[in-house]
Symmetry: C3
Subunit: 203 residues, 3 copies
């Protein structure tokens, strides 16, 4: 499969699921239609915009073409009308956030590599891309960001980013590395949510 296309698909799925997580938070907080749409878009594109600003891909992809923002708006409208479907999931905001975390961690790492960053910095960029959207969503809705709440979160993004890098070193097909890295982040994060796994705290 053509790599650029695969990357794009992953990026769009990431935007969609982050938008759902932002819109669901808006529904929970009793926002109106436009507030929900704003939170959906901001959650969906902040991680990618931050990534692009930091690696020097300016204007950022979400600003250069309209597809990402349009997709986030569609997700927001869907949630507005069908939020009860999403609410059947136990933790809808966090679960969609976990999917976005995985997808953006691997696409962020890959894009940073494509822009010539060293591997160790590409991994950091992947983590930033993954955690950025949820961070902005939580700060805007006046909650302590999920990344600081003490379940495995940034560490799950790190796992996906490192696995993508490993796949690169082993010359695996890019789509396989992207898929594998994103899935492992999603699985680890989901397990942390449902089993309440945590990392050690200072004594």
């Amino acid at each position: 499969m053509h790599f650029a296309l695969f990357f794009q698909i992953f990026n769009f799925i990431g935007i969609f699921v982050f938008a759902v997580s932002g819109a669901m938070r808006g529904v929970r907080n009793g926002l109106d239609l436009f507030g929900i749409l704003v939170l959906a878009v901001v959650t969906a594109v902040s991680g990618g915009i931050l990534r692009d600003l930091l690696i020097g891909a300016i204007p950022p992809q979400s600003i250069q073409d309209w597809h990402g923002i349009a997709l986030a708006l569609v997700a927001g409208v869907l949630v507005f009308f069908f939020h009860r479907v999403f609410e059947r999931l136990q933790y809808p905001v966090l679960l969609f956030d976990a999917a976005g975390l995985g997808l953006f961690a691997v696409t962020g790492t890959q894009k940073a590599l494509d822009y010539g960053l060293a591997p160790e910095m590409a991994v950091i960029l992947g983590v930033i891309s993954g955690i950025g959207g949820g961070m902005v969503r939580d700060v805007l809705s006046a909650q302590v960001p999920v990344v600081l709440r003490g379940e495995i979160y940034a560490s799950a993004a790190l796992l996906g980013a490192v696995l993508l890098l490993g796949g690169d070193w082993l010359h695996l097909p890019s789509w396989l590395s992207l898929l594998f890295g994103a899935s492992c982040t999603f699985l680890l994060r989901s397990l942390a949510i449902y089993r309440h796994w945590t990392l050690p705290r200072p004594r």
Copy 2:
């Protein structure tokens, strides 16, 4: 009238009114002189800086020359000494914010068009420029951002940005499009404040 000059005037008025709204928030929260000045400057320049970073106008205008920041400081000092005058208005923070919203929505859209962005993205950039300053002000003063509070806000900015675009298509003089778009945003937003207009919420 020369267009660049008109654009500049609009930009400066936008900076001034946002600075007043930030400084009034500082007075309300009991900040000292410097805290008020910081909140005035940050509210006034954040939207424009965000706009410039996103369209690739780097360094941003407010960083390249000192006029914007100086103007915001003057507004902050005025509020510090004469805040009782401003307090006679019923919602001073929100009303000055509404004026800034309209001015930045149209100048943001125009500048994005000038930098070659597609019309639909220029509109998005206008909305971002408009809502950016108030968002940062509210996050810094630990309030839920006005854009999420469920009165017509981002939608008012969208109206102004779309009207500017329409004026462009009709080949109206730029100053007329800017003025008309900004006024409509301001009027719609002010009506929403005083009449408590809202958009629909999810059931």
Copy 3:
């Protein structure tokens, strides 16, 4: 002493002390290891990244090479294991923050001058670099930013930035200006913390 090296050393000490202040905040808020590391890194590099984005030094220094982030991670791990040592200080978060404030105020001003900004804007950039890290730390941990809490803070950063500029005008050796400016900011800010100095408030 070679100037670039001296600048780098100051930058790294600034990163380290801001990382300690972020990590101590994480310990106070009961975060786990990864949350503490994230808060350490974000506090340490946000001011410098913001500075670099604004002056057009893209990708920012902390993204181009790994030393800054690695240093922040080391500081975070040290705090995780030895936070009781740091807690013997009366206000550890604020004290390390004061050191970072001074160091980043002068290095930010100097870097902005090197990138060709006018002196008055370089001073503003210095203040932004100094207050950026603490602002992000406080917003993420859901506190009112220290810069708005009404003790001498941004004004202390301003003092250091202006002194650096004064040193430049007097053709003092750069290392001396950096050292003198940073020390004065640190002293003024520390005195404000321990003696509860404040600036005037509106009547």
